[in-house]
């Protein structure tokens, strides 16, 4: 495995802590409509690369197991967010606000589909008590749409709202971080604008 940069090595635990705290804050405030537990994962994936991002996702779920044991089954989703964010960062998506927001459905579709499949398997093909199921999936099911499809639709809709919030926060954090800090990270070239870098370098000199 390619050696992880030392700054990235420290950023991974910080990303895990950010995931935990954001989940705590957003979850309590919005009744788990916005979860926010992938802010740290996306942030680390964008600034440090795919592997650190996926590790952040994996560790986030592993350290939550002591408090919420079922989180162990959802670790692949958070890892997937790391992978998607890392890949999109390479396409320079995170340099533009509009493009970043436009990627929210990608995360929602991937996370919503896989997450629902995990829940569906775990619950042995039955509904769970999530808000997505109560507000969207059950009415769709009553209209004759298959159970799994209606559950996926509900999860994706809720995930889009969550991921829009995540993308906005990640982008604002990246903009707020000083360039002299960002350029030390492995993914600096994907987030720092060249003109700004040059200017800050000149300022430093």
């Amino acid at each position: 495995m390619k050696k992880i940069n030392k700054l990235a090595l420290i950023l991974i635990p910080i990303g895990v802590a950010i995931n935990f705290v954001c989940n705590l804050v957003f979850g309590n405030l919005t009744g788990h409509m916005v979860i926010g537990d992938s802010i740290g994962t996306v942030l680390v994936a964008v600034t440090c690369g795919i592997v650190p991002g996926m590790l952040t996702g994996l560790l986030s779920n592993l350290v939550s197991v002591a408090a919420m044991p079922v989180m162990i089954f959802y670790a692949p989703i958070n890892m997937l967010y790391g992978l998607i964010a890392g890949l999109l960062a390479r396409k320079l998506i995170f340099k533009s606000f509009g493009k970043t927001l436009a990627t929210a459905p990608v995360y929602a579709l991937a996370g919503g589909t896989i997450g629902t499949c995990i829940t569906y398997t775990m619950m042995q093909g039955e509904f769970s008590g999530s808000m997505a199921n109560v507000l969207i999936a059950m009415p769709l099911y009553a209209m004759g749409i298959p159970k799994l499809m209606s559950m996926i639709a509900g999860a994706v809709v809720f995930d889009i709202v969550d991921k829009i919030c995540v993308m906005v926060i990640v982008l604002l954090v990246i903009k707020a971080l000083p360039d002299r800090f960002l350029i030390k990270l492995p993914g600096a070239k994907y987030v720092v604008k060249k003109a700004q870098t040059t200017k800050s370098d000149l300022d430093d000199e």
Partner: protein, 264 residues
């Protein structure tokens, strides 16, 4: 006194209870297999057996309260909502009716579905929460490193993540109090608290990220990058035959459950 203090680093740690004395990895295999077993075959007798085992274990180590309170929190409101959802989704089922509720027939399948959720989720949660009773993450990491040869970098990240969570929550509390003293409303209706998210969460995230450089310097000063075997302050006794029995028992239970499920 000094000899005693030094001895705790030289010798293997002696845990106070029999449950803690089982090797963490062997115990994890046992608990995970039993928990997954409940997910595969959610029947009352299996749930009752696991609950009895957990209750006896927890009473014997005087930690019943440490598991029951989180279990009630995790199963309380989500459990009630899921039960209602499951009953409602089965209302149209054809078959025998259990009872009438406000003129609506509640089918037996609806109650069976709701009960299956409690057997499944309750059993999985109680066995996993029992696992973590009196267990420290650093002991699990130590075992991962020594028994499964997981890299010290991975265990460092895990333990560092645990300590980072505590420090970030402390920073969040400090920032919230500071912003409140500057006149930003942080308490009250949810709309008020929603407005306060940005001024409180942002400084926390930014300061956590920018402090990383200091931590890197501290790691360098402590020779983190030096190659070679890392030492540990705590030493866990290597697994013995009785520890392996727990793992084998867990796997055997899981296989038996799968076979029972296949055979119907």
């Amino acid at each position: 006194m000094n000899e005693e203090f030094l001895a705790q680093f030289r010798n293997h740690i002696i845990f106070p209870t029999w449950w803690q004395r089982i090797n963490p990895l062997s115990k994890f295999v046992f608990c995970l297999c039993v928990g997954i077993g409940a997910m595969i075959n959610s029947v009352w007798w299996y749930a009752a057996t696991v609950f009895t085992f957990c209750f006896v274990t927890l009473i014997s180590i005087h930690k019943l309260r440490n598991v029951i309170v989180p279990l009630i929190v995790l199963m309380g409101i989500p459990g009630i909502i899921t039960t209602i959802v499951r009953v409602v989704s089965h209302l149209g089922d054809v078959g025998p009716v259990a009872f009438m509720l406000f003129g609506t027939p509640i089918p037996v399948t609806a109650l069976q579905s709701a009960a299956a959720y409690f057997y499944m989720m309750g059993t999985f949660l109680i066995i996993m929460l029992t696992y973590f009773v009196g267990m420290e993450m650093r002991d699990i990491c130590y075992c991962l490193e020594n028994q499964l040869h997981v890299t010290s970098t991975f265990t460092f990240m895990t333990l560092s993540a645990m300590s980072s969570i505590t420090s970030v929550i402390a920073t969040l509390n400090t920032v919230t109090e500071s912003q409140a003293s500057r006149g930003i409303e942080t308490q009250g209706k949810w709309t008020v608290r929603l407005k306060a998210i940005m001024p409180t969460l942002f400084p926390v995230i930014i300061s956590s990220l920018t402090n990383v450089e200091n931590k890197t310097l501290a790691m360098d000063a402590r020779a983190f990058a030096v190659k070679g075997k890392h030492t540990s302050l705590r030493r866990i006794k290597p697994p013995v035959a009785s520890d392996h029995i727990w793992s084998i028992l867990g796997v055997a239970i899981l296989i038996a459950i799968i076979v029972l499920k296949i055979m119907g």
